[in-house]
Every structure is written in C-alpha cells, then in structure tokens.
C-alpha cells in the first residue's frame, strides 16, 4: 500500500519501521529536518519504567509497557542498534528524610498492579552490590523488569535507516496543515494515499481536541567520577528526578513537569532543583560537565493517556505524554491491528 505519515517523531518512526517490514511504500512529512531536535522523542531519556511510571498513571500503562518492552529489541535490531537496548533493572531511592515517599510509592503501585508486591526493597549492602556508587543510600527498591532505550541513538539510527530505504520518501521541513481520510494537506497541496497516519504530536493541535503540551527540562551531564549503570530515580515530596546512564559516563538528568507549552530555555529554578538533586545523590556530579540543557513539551491529552482514533483510510495516534518510549511500540501495534490491518 501507498501510505502517508504526518509527523516523524517517535510514533511516526515506530510506525514507519513496522510498515516497511510489511513491504509498504511510505511518504513521511515533518516540519523538522530528519536530524532535527523538535520531536519530544529526541529529548526523552527513553526509560522503560513499566512499574515506576504507574505511580502517577493508570494501569493500562502497565500492559502497554510490558508489551513494548518485548517489542523494542526487534525494532532496534531492524535499524542495526541492538545494543541501544538495556534491561537490567532500575533503582528507586530517596533521601533519609523522604523515606515516606518510598512507602507511598510502593503502596500506590500495589494498589494498581498485583505484580508490584514482588518488588524488592534493598538495604545498603544489597544496593551496593548492584550499584557500588549508590553506597550512601540505605534503602532502595530494585525493579528487575525495567530498562531503557538510548533515545538519541534510536532517533539518529532510525533517520539513517529511513532516509536510505528505497521505499521511503521523506519531506523534511514541511509543515502539514491537516490530515484527513486518505489525505495529507500541506502548503496549499494535497497528497492522497491508501492510508494516512497522523503522528504529529503537538503539531496536530488543530485536528485533535484537548491536546496540550507539558513542559519538561533535562540536563545531559558528562560525569567521569560517577559510575551508575541503571536508571535511578530519586523520590522527593515535590520533584521526581531520574538519572539515566548512557555510555561513557554520560547521564541524562530529568525531568521537570510543568503545565505549560513554553519551549524556551530551562529556568534557573529547574536547573537548581535538578542539579542539587543529582549532586546530593552522588558528590561526583560536582565536577561533571554540563553538555546540554534541553527543553521540550510532551503531547498530552486530558486523561494523560495515549489515544488512537480511526476513520476511513486514517489513523491518528497522540498523547503519549511522558511515556513515549515505554508505550510507542505497543500503541503502534494496536493502532495497526485495529485500523489498517483490520
């Protein structure tokens, strides 16, 4: 089939990879360049936190998340970066004065999925065996099922793959006006397809009701003195801060969550919160170098859950919010099975 995809962010890419495997011909449209950084999937830390994200989300996230975890390895293999996937568990900890947050966290998880009762609370000795650099923490949860995708590598490798694929035409720097049944309209033109997908995220605000942006801010730090190997979250009464390790002692530190569509640079307050939190977690961050400070907005619907909408020759996918990498493969699979492949 001849298929049009509006929006080549995370969802657009996962869609494209799926559709190419079925031998379809694709035309992609995006307002950014193929290697640009406008997509939220470019800012993400790529955590596959199937349990931890449940603290502030509904349990449907859990099922989709588990399904995605099983789908990611094949997707990454398809674009030749199998090693961008890691599943060796994650750590959840807190400062001693905030240990109550650990109780709240686990109770909330248990109320949502029975599997949460298997999550193990580690003492200092057990934690140090897993992560010697976290020795100053006396209490932490370990969630073996969780992992991460190196989001930035996924974005780059998927660009390389799609650009070089003979069945793909990629219109870069093209802002799509509207997507409707079998049609993608842009700068006064209309292209028709056998099926179209709207995966524009916040770019679809004109066509999708109740879509809003939720601002997030992250740091990239190079910290040669820090050796944390698993995604690590620190619970705090007011912030949820995570440290996600990348190769060569690079760490992604995030993320704020502010109800605003503002994409301007990081605020001083956010930077103080994020940096003092990581410094308090490991003093080795003091001499880390700030490689990047990134701000973006997550496309979000009223219930903070993803939405798939079908009509004749069209599927819209939106609202992956802070769960992009955790949900995209499963959401795309469901969208295809209940739409085009039905």
């Amino acid at each position: 089939m001849n298929i049009g995809i509006a929006g080549v962010g995370l969802v657009g890419r996962v869609l494209a990879l799926n559709l190419l495997q079925q031998g379809h011909t694709l035309t992609l449209f995006d307002e950014d360049t193929a290697y640009g950084d406008k997509a939220a999937g470019m800012t993400a830390a790529g955590m596959l936190a199937v349990f931890a994200e449940l603290e502030s989300a509904e349990s449907v996230i859990f099922d989709h998340g588990n399904r995605s975890i099983s789908l990611w390895p094949a997707l990454l293999e398809q674009i030749g970066i199998s090693d961008a996937y890691q599943q060796k568990g994650s750590i959840i900890t807190a400062h001693p004065q905030d240990y109550k947050e650990l109780d709240h966290f686990i109770e909330t998880l248990k109320s949502k999925v029975p599997e949460a009762s298997e999550i193990k609370l580690l003492d200092r000795r057990e934690l140090t065996q897993l992560e010697p650099d976290l020795e100053q923490h006396a209490k932490a949860f370990f969630i073996p099922q969780e992992g991460q995708v190196d989001a930035q590598r996924f974005m780059k490798a998927s660009s390389d793959y799609l650009l070089s694929h003979s069945n793909v035409t990629w219109h870069q720097n093209i802002k799509v006006d509207t997507v409707r049944s079998g049609e993608i309209a842009y700068v006064g033109k209309e292209d028709t397809f056998d099926w179209v997908f709207d995966a524009r995220g916040l770019g679809a605000q004109k066509d999708v009701e109740n879509l809003r942006g939720v601002r997030g801010e992250v740091f990239w730090l190079d910290a040669p003195e820090v050796n944390i190997t698993r995604p690590t979250r620190m619970l705090h009464p007011r912030y949820k801060i995570y440290i996600v390790p990348r190769p060569n002692n690079r760490y992604i530190i995030g993320a704020t969550e502010i109800e605003s569509e503002d994409k301007s640079p990081m605020s001083v307050r956010s930077s103080l919160e994020l940096l003092s939190a990581v410094y308090s977690m490991h003093s080795g961050f003091a001499e880390a170098r700030i490689v990047n400070m990134v701000t973006n907005c997550r496309p979000t619907l009223r219930d903070n859950l993803p939405n798939i909408e079908h009509s004749t020759k069209m599927t819209r996918i939106n609202g992956l919010y802070r769960h992009g990498y955790l949900l995209a493969p499963a959401v795309v699979e469901e969208a295809l099975n209940k739409g085009m492949y039905k």
Partner: protein, 269 residues
C-alpha cells in the same frame, strides 16, 4: 422530620455565596481528567491554581488554565513559589489578568524544604494587595499574632495551616486554631494545608472553621475521586457537628444508663 443536609447550608466568602466549604488544589493529580472528576464529586466550588512557574516564558500555561476555567467554578489563583512580598504581588497582578478575578491565595514561602509561610512578607504583601483591590486569602501558620496583623491590614479571610503543606499530619495544634477562631468570630477562617485524611477535615470544621483547603490528601490518594467524595462527606459532617453543638468532654467515662444490678448511687464508689 427535616434532615439537616449540609448542602442546604450556604456561606459567604470573598463576596460570593457558596454551598461547599471544601476548597481544592489542582496540583499532583494523575491527570486533568481525574482532577475534574474529583472536583465534581467533591462538590467543591473553589479551585486553587498556581501561576508562577507556569507563567514564565512564551505562551505558558494557557492550556492547563483553560481546563481549570472550564470546570465552571470559582478559580482562586495562588502565588505559590513566591519567596518575597514583591514576587507575590507581581504574581497576583498577573493572576488578575489571566483569570479575570480579584481573588488571590497569598502564599509567600519562608523555608524551601518544608514550605513554611513567611509571616513577615505575607503581611507586607497582603497590605499592598488589599489596597490594590484584591480579595486576599492569606496562607499563614497558626500563630495568633500573625493572624492579628493580617486582620489589621484588612484581610477578611485568614487561612492558618493545620500542619506543614503536604505533610498530611492533620491539625498539629488545635488549641492555636481555636484561639484564632475565638479572636476573630467574624472573619472567614479556612484551615489550609496539612490535612491528610477525612477525619482531619471533620475536626477542623468541628472547631468552627468556615472551610478547609486541601490538595495532596485527595490528589495523592490511590483513588482520588473516591477520596474527594470522602472529603465532601467529612466536611459536611464536621460543619453539621459544629452547628449542632458538641457535648462537653467529661473527666471520666460515664455510662448513660445504670448497669443492671448496680444501684446508680453506687456506680462510682
């Protein structure tokens, strides 16, 4: 016989006549949709919303604020995140523009970790804002003298804490809250912050407080919507209890009917 349903009760705050004495915050909910359900079931008619952090930068906040406005109840913008009178005043002025209301929940923070209010800056800001025509809902500690100073500068509403924001510890010092109630029978008093469970809200209402304001206790519950319903009932129960007049406590447990076989004049010997 009439049922004394609290929903027949009305009260006036900030120039508005309302039924519900439960004021709700809008932070920390799993989603805006969940918050909307919680607020609906709670019957609350006032929702607070923060501006300071959302308003900076380009085109900030509007979508979320539109959601809050769409609930169709009174919006009480707050100055959360302000650390000085000056910051709070600027935020209040911005809130007036954004929400078209002269109401403002004045919140000036004096301690970064426990978010304890700064009474000195709060009084300073209240004085300026009242002169500028704002209806000020000041968040303060349970200190009687601070409450007096707020009343002196013209506050018609005072909102002492039950305990620290987000602590869920309930009414840490009921005697202080009673002292403020006694001193100011004519002001609108709302217990703001520290409420952790429905019984805390009932207790605040039994003290004769006009309302309670809370956020975390509902938003962080495992089922926020059910908890919102629980707080609706709790606030009504406390108010009815206050109006009905509670019996005085006694120094010993006294059976109200004589125990069989024991002459009543022998019971306490």
């Amino acid at each position: 016989m009439t049922k004394y349903l609290a929903s027949n009760d009305t009260w006036e705050i900030g120039g508005k006549r309302l039924n519900s004495r439960l004021l709700m915050g809008s932070a920390l909910y799993p989603s805006p949709a969940n918050m909307e359900d919680a607020i609906k079931i709670s019957g609350s008619q006032i929702v607070t919303v923060s501006l300071r952090r959302q308003a900076a930068g380009e085109g900030g906040g509007n979508q979320f604020w539109d959601i809050i406005k769409s609930f169709g109840i009174e919006v009480l913008p707050n100055t959360a995140g302000s650390h000085s009178a000056k910051e709070a005043i600027t935020t209040a002025q911005m809130a007036r523009e954004v929400f078209g209301t002269n109401w403002v929940k004045l919140e000036v923070i004096g301690d970064q970790y426990n978010l304890q209010p700064d009474p000195f800056e709060t009084v300073k800001a209240a004085e300026v804002l009242i002169k500028e025509g704002f209806e000020v809902f000041p968040y303060t500690t349970d200190d009687l003298v601070v409450a007096k100073r707020l009343a002196d500068v013209g506050c018609k509403i005072i909102m002492p804490w039950g305990s620290m924001i987000g602590s869920g510890k309930g009414l840490m010092n009921p005697d202080n809250l009673i002292a403020i109630r006694k001193q100011f029978p004519d002001l609108q008093l709302v217990v703001d912050a520290g409420i952790g469970k429905p019984s805390h809200a009932t207790q605040a209402m039994e003290l004769g407080y006009d309302g309670v304001l809370l956020n975390s206790a509902i938003a962080l519950a495992q089922d926020p919507v059910k908890m919102a319903d629980a707080f609706r009932v709790a606030v009504e129960a406390g108010r009815l209890g206050y109006e009905a007049g509670t019996m005085k406590e006694r120094e010993f447990a006294s059976p109200s009917t004589p125990t069989i076989g024991t002459p009543f004049w022998h019971q306490f010997n």
